[in-house]
């Protein structure tokens, strides 16, 4: 069975380490915060200018001056700091964030990512996504493996305008956990109950399946 959004977030959460500073994009990445293992602490960076994002506020705590990058009202966690957007992106661009998780429309075997624009249809802007993919060493892209119409999102060449060039190494889809090495997708793990043949069929870019492919542990 394909992973649910929650299961995808759970699998990504396994990549966290104690003491990680993490930037989570909107959508599935946001859910990762719910699955931080209890024996570790991570600190969430919100690119509008907050390190140490806390949970949503109660009705009493709500504060128009305290929001995250998704414009949602939030609180601060213990040890938080607040700063300007220039400082926030200095942090991001300078490679100080340990892990970035974000969604995408397409990824290709060259590590290119398209996530911000569908010409003629969706032109909302890249926000901080271009800075995030250019600045981080350690990025996990989360997305469904294929569109609703069954079209692969893992391509040999992205068709949409790029968010970043050659910057993606890891992709977690509802079907598989994949690493990009030397211009090829490498299947690391398949979702429980998902056939490797199905993953192959839905992966348009070249996919290498070694004998060490594991079933995901959710």
């Amino acid at each position: 069975m394909a992973l649910t959004r929650e299961q995808m977030a759970m699998r990504v959460a396994q990549e966290l380490q104690d003491g990680f500073y993490v930037n989570l994009g909107i959508g599935i990445p946001t859910l990762v915060a719910n699955y931080v293992p209890s024996n570790m602490e991570v600190m969430l960076q919100s690119e509008n200018g907050l390190l140490g994002m806390g949970q949503f506020p109660t009705e009493e705590e709500i504060d128009a001056d305290l929001i995250n990058a998704g414009k949602q009202t939030v609180t601060v966690a213990k040890g938080a700091s607040i700063f300007s957007s220039a400082e926030s992106f200095a942090m991001i661009r300078g490679g100080h964030v340990d892990l970035t998780v974000l969604g995408a429309f397409e990824v290709d075997v060259h590590g290119n990512i398209a996530s911000y624009m569908i010409p003629g249809k969706l032109i909302k802007g890249m926000g901080g996504a271009m800075d995030l993919v250019a600045g981080a060493d350690n990025i996990i892209v989360t997305m469904t493996h294929a569109s609703k119409h069954g079209e692969s999102k893992l391509l040999s060449q992205c068709s949409l305008p790029l968010t970043g060039k050659g910057c993606i190494k890891k992709i977690l889809t509802d079907l598989a956990y994949i690493e990009i090495i030397d211009g090829k997708f490498h299947l690391l793990e398949h979702a429980p109950g998902v056939e490797i043949e199905q993953i192959k069929a839905l992966t348009a870019g070249e996919l290498v399946v070694s004998e060490h492919v594991k079933e995901m542990n959710i």
Binding site: S46, E47, N48, G49, L50, Q55, F56, P57, T58, E59, I62, D63, A64, D65, L66, I67, N68, G70, K71, Q72, T73, V74, V76, I82, F83, S84, S85, A86, S88, F89, I92, R93, N112, M117, I123, K124, G125, M126, G127, G128, A129, M130, D131, A134, G135, P161, L162, T163, G164, K165, G166
Partner: protein
């Protein structure tokens, strides 16, 4: 009265000299920390043909969105404009020129303008539509593009607490783009929730030194919330 007293008596005075076809740098992220009343004054003045540099463009009926509705903005330089239906309509119809700029690059362009740095290299946007037509250069085996600074004729800024000399403190994430915007205007206009006498703020805790501020006014703010997300007491 001291020559450092930046306080003006009215919003009209605060934006005196703002003319058609000028460039305005605005602080704020979404609807958070936006100079609400200065925007309303621009609406009232009816200034046209503006170039606006701001991370977002408000919503249809609040923030910079109100200037869109009145067709006062000709061009906008922003990173994200997804909250505004009128915006999308004007953009798709070609009435509004939009330069999408990555959020960090936008912040840095403002900072650079204020800091006398005409251009800098960044990896952000390399190989994407943002990098098209820009110089590419390699440092330590990585490719970067050249981005130039953006200066405004006016900068409009929202602070929390100010002293009469224009020293500013921002509150929580309402800080966002405001400190950089404050440095990037030929004339920087600030509205604050509170203005205290010079000397009352701790010099170590000032976010924007008064040297960047030309005019200052105390305002009252609606502080509209864009995404009201709450948890119920007891919920994790």
């Amino acid at each position: 009265m001291s020559g450092f007293n930046k306080v003006v008596a009215s919003y009209q005075e605060a934006l005196a000299g703002l003319e058609d076809n000028m460039t305005i740098i605005a602080g704020g992220f979404g609807l958070c920390g936006i100079p609400e009343n200065l925007i309303q004054e621009i609406k009232r003045k009816g200034t046209k043909g503006l170039t606006v540099v701001s991370n977002n463009c408000g919503v249809d009926d609040f923030g910079l969105g109100v200037l869109l509705k009145d067709r006062q903005i000709e061009k906008i330089i922003a990173s994200y404009v997804g909250e505004n239906a009128e915006f999308e309509r004007q953009m798709l119809s070609g009435e509004l020129e939009v330069v999408l700029t990555p959020q960090g690059t936008l912040a840095e362009k403002m900072r650079a303008a204020g800091a006398g740095i005409p251009a800098f290299y960044t990896a952000t946007g390399y190989g994407t539509p943002v990098g098209e037509g820009k110089e590419v250069r390699t440092f330590n085996d990585r490719n970067y593009i050249l981005e130039e600074s953006i200066k405004g004729d006016f900068a409009i800024v929202k602070a929390w607490k100010a002293d009469t000399y224009g020293n500013l403190i921002y509150r929580k994430t309402a800080r966002n783009f405001n400190p950089m915007a404050a440095t990037a205007g030929k004339i920087t206009v600030v509205e604050a929730e509170e203005i205290v006498p010079a000397g009352e703020l701790d010099p170590d805790q000032i976010h924007t030194p008064g040297i960047y501020v030309d005019r200052l006014i105390q305002g009252t703010f609606e502080k509209r919330i864009e995404q009201r997300t709450i948890r119920h007491s007891g919920e994790q």
